[in-house]
Amino acid sequence: MIDTLIQGVLLGGYYAGIACGLSFMFFVMRIINLAHGSLAVAAAYGLWLLASTFGISPFVGLLIILPVMAVAGWILQLYLLERSARGGALLPILTTFGLAIVIDNLMFEQFGADTRSLAPFIGSLSYDSWELPGSIYVGKLAVMTMATAIALLGGLQFFLSRFALGRAIRATAEDPDTAGLVGIDARTANALAAAIAMVTVGIAGAFLGMRATFDPYSGGPQLLFAFEAAVIGGAGSLWGTLIGGIVLGLAQSLGAQVHPQGFLIGGHAVFLAVLFARLFLTGLPFLGKGGFSRTGLAKIRAAIRSTL
């Protein structure tokens, strides 16, 4: 039982890691990035390509891939999300949905249907473990993933609250017009935020590739897990996302103990339970305080109507 709990918590670290970028864009920039999982898989393919062609270790490869992801985020925001945001609240979501399909199929065209993994390129790390008292084994990679997720979320939270740039990003998210009046270039602030989010996506992609296998269509499930972790954690702070990831990991591990098929069901059940509990307790959907008020929902309805 204790083993299950520990493994569940460590799995949660991975979910928190992939949810980090989604949650950052979701709560700070108010954009739901449905291409999140696909972008993580793209980063994993980038690392795989570097490792298999040039023999570059995935950890060194990150030094190349992360800047590429940052630039991709910058471009994505300036040329895609910002433009589509002018068309209403729903359009950026649809845009990222389309982007996910484009990325998935480009990867399929390029890399085929074979499943890949970064595990062969990291030596014994993918299966090494430490033994804890009571002959419980924890994977070194899993512990590393957890530590990285904590560092990422904590670092981002610290950056947002303590640094002028972080404050500028939060101010822009809250009120871009007034942000301009106090001297913040809203476009740059948003592009920078997107670049930061994509860097975390790149890191998440690396861990995805190292701990498991991936194929061109792996993005969907990753998005789902990230989304569930972000929603369970709720708004407020990025630490919530860490809690959300751990809760999801625990639910899946415990679900798997109950029934061999219970892994995914356990996670989904907790996600839905949290969602409905929040809906009934606060009357607000999962976007948290000040997220979707009635006017917000009305806007989305209007956007849906205008799109149809």
Partner: protein, 242 residues
């Protein structure tokens, strides 16, 4: 010496022309009150001076440099800061964070977080409170402090008394008093005519987007301003189509 020169400024909200052919010069240290009825175009004029709303024609010149097309985030770096109507604070952020955001433009000068707290002592106990939880007067003080943090050459105050009780308005103006007499160049929009004429050295009255009165505050009576305010002075010419 002319600090700000506004020349034949026209500003539109789509089909509605809110500011029509407005021109005035402002010298360093002037305190100018813009008065006029609701919808006269005062807020639009201030927002276009701050760069939040670009004009369709005309020129805005600050210290000899043409600012007409400069966007708001660069304009504050050149020295024009606006305290917007309705305060427009970042409500999820604390008083201190809002003040620090005022530094984004990167202008250095005498205004610091501590100096703002000196000028608005009522904010000291609320330093780490989210501005969404503040009273109206505290919010207004924060908004003014945030604008001052950019060390502006010209401070634009849009309806600082809006939504505040008379008592709180008195306190905000008492706190502004040092600012108003310290040689800071200020343009203020104020609904309360008596108060506007008491603090300003010059009064401009706007009616339907046009300047209908521009005079030193001392040499104009309340009645004259009231007449211009309601357009009574041009009864003989009749209302023009607009």
């Amino acid at each position: 010496m002319t600090m700000l020169s506004v020349q034949n400024l026209n500003v539109r909200h789509g089909l509605l022309q809110a500011v029509r052919d407005v021109s005035f010069d402002l010298a360093k240290g002037d305190v100018l009150a813009l008065v006029g009825a609701n919808g006269a175009g005062k807020t639009t004029l201030l927002r276009s001076l701050a760069g939040a709303h670009l004009p369709t024609s005309g020129r805005i010149i600050l210290n000899g440099a043409d600012m007409t097309g400069v966007p708001s985030h660069q304009r504050i770096a050149r020295g024009i800061a606006l305290v917007p109507e309705g305060r427009r604070l970042f409500l999820q952020m604390t008083v201190e964070e809002n003040l620090l955001l005022g530094k984004s433009a990167g202008r250095t000068g005498e205004w610091t977080v501590d100096r703002v707290f000196d000028a608005f002592p009522n904010l000291i106990p609320r330093r780490h409170a989210k501005t969404g939880h503040l009273s109206g007067g505290e919010q207004q003080a924060t908004a003014i402090g945030r604008a001052l943090m950019s060390n502006p050459d010209i401070l634009l105050l849009d309806e600082v008394s809006l939504g505040l009780s008379p008592l709180v308005v008195d306190r905000v103006y008492a706190q502004l008093q040092t600012l108003l007499t310290s040689g800071t160049t200020i343009i203020l929009v104020e609904q309360d005519l008596g108060r506007a004429m008491a603090v300003a050295r010059r009064v401009i009255c706007i009616l339907e987007g046009r300047v209908v009165l521009d005079s030193p505050a001392k040499s104009v009576t309340r009645d004259q301003v009231t007449q211009a305010y309601f357009g009574l002075h041009r009864d003989s010419t009749g209302r023009e189509a607009s």
